[in-house]
Amino acid sequence: MTSTVPAEPATALTELTVSEASAQIRAGSLSCSALLEAHLERIDAVDGRVKAFVYIDRDALRKEAALLDAEAAAGKFRGPLHGVTVGLKDVFHVSGMPTLAQSKASDPKLREQDSTIAARFRAAGALILGKLETTEFAASLSQPITRNPWNLEHNPGGSSSGSGAAVGARMVMAAIGTQTGGSNNRPAAYNGVSGFIASYGRISRSGLHANSWSYDHPGIIARSVEDLALCFSVIGGPDEADTTTIPTQAPPAELNSAGVRAPRIGVFREFYEPLAEPEMTACVDAAAAKFVTAGAEVHDVAMPASFALASTVSRLIGAAEKSVVHAGRMAAGPDRFGDNVRRSNLAGTLVPATYYLHAQRIRRKVVDDMKALFDTCDLILLPTAPGPAPKGDYTGDPVFLTPWTVMGYPGVNIPGGLSSDGLPLGLQMVAPPMSDYELLQNAAWCQSVLGVLPPPPLN
């Protein structure tokens, strides 16, 4: 396993983090147009191979960047992301752009209003570069078009395949994905970048093509944990258009990590060790050793018996909800769906209501049982995936992510190093619901200990 490298100031514009670019634009040392052109050049250079973008309108982007530059020259900044480039998974509506969700059942001529996330990004000054590839309707059952920038023969993970690969390949500074099982943080892990899922209800789903209502989490992918926090501060918080949002404002953008004490870390070894590849287990052990050296308290934590039920609960609830989400489109023509998604939609209609409700009761028990784990630790550490990105069409195993998604717990992925094949290995950190800010603070502390990965060797 190759180690990560200490973070160093970026030189090329596409190597800037969101925080760095934002500061330079505000200081007048970087123009929004120059930052945009650097990303468009990067897209031209690599996206023919990576295939992360579905939709991009260069003329409209150049006009918008010029407008942002004019505002900046007049001392007017829309918000903390003024001129920063972002992308959205192609299951979120963005005005002026189609939402295809990688499905033949979508209408390519239809244009919807901005999703809440897109609107909040725009209000903060972000430049929405375009739409990013997804698997069909964000179901990991289908194969992604996108390839992994670390090795094009390998999968970028899914379903947020374009979001992970675009950030990993430096085509965009931050991207939005979704996670219904493991669809945001697994692509973040496989592409060597950072990913974040907030507690369920802290980021609005309004304007998102649903996959499974009670599991769908919008997620953020960026290069650093600081950037995740900055984006979360912009897009998080209550939204009248999504009644499941929690009436608590998003936390501040600044993590103030300097004053944070080293965290108490619980290693969830009993759960992951039988399922992880040896190289992945070694990656967690190496990271834990570095955290101890840096002052963290690290100990193993036991797995509550009910935790093992989380994936089963997910299978049943997910099957039922997905079949209802797609019922109208299925009635209009089931053969417009790919084979795996069509079969899932048909079979999901068979789940009895009594079983759906019983699964939701078990879900509550798992959530309640897990809270006690955090009496002795601030975060739980485990791999994000059993190993590095697989070859071919398989998007990878969400086994280490799905239980937390079921429970609505917040989770972060940070890079832990490279495999012997030169592919990124991801470390997952999880905390109790509504402790998103503390989780991001602690994850930033961990990232400061481990460093970040260099760019993928695409050139």
Binding site: L309, T312, L316, R343, L346, A347, V351, Y355, Q360, K365
Partner: protein, 60 residues
């Protein structure tokens, strides 16, 4: 389909297959078999889980 006493995977498979035939036609059964198996297995597992009567479902 009863919830308790717990169902076996075989019972759940038989029930789901009957429902699938009625809903989607016999010609769809072969392509649905893998999904039916997965749902039947999940039904068997969760029907064996006993919970306190006052535990309410979680709808986030």
């Amino acid at each position: 389909m009863r919830l308790h006493p717990a169902v076996t995977k075989e019972e759940a498979t038989e029930w789901l297959t009957t429902q699938a035939k009625a809903s989607w036609g016999e010609e769809r059964l072969p392509e649905l078999q893998e999904n039916i198996d997965a749902i039947a297995e999940a039904m068997a597992i969760i029907s064996a889980v006993e919970l306190p009567d006052d535990l309410e479902p979680l709808f986030p």
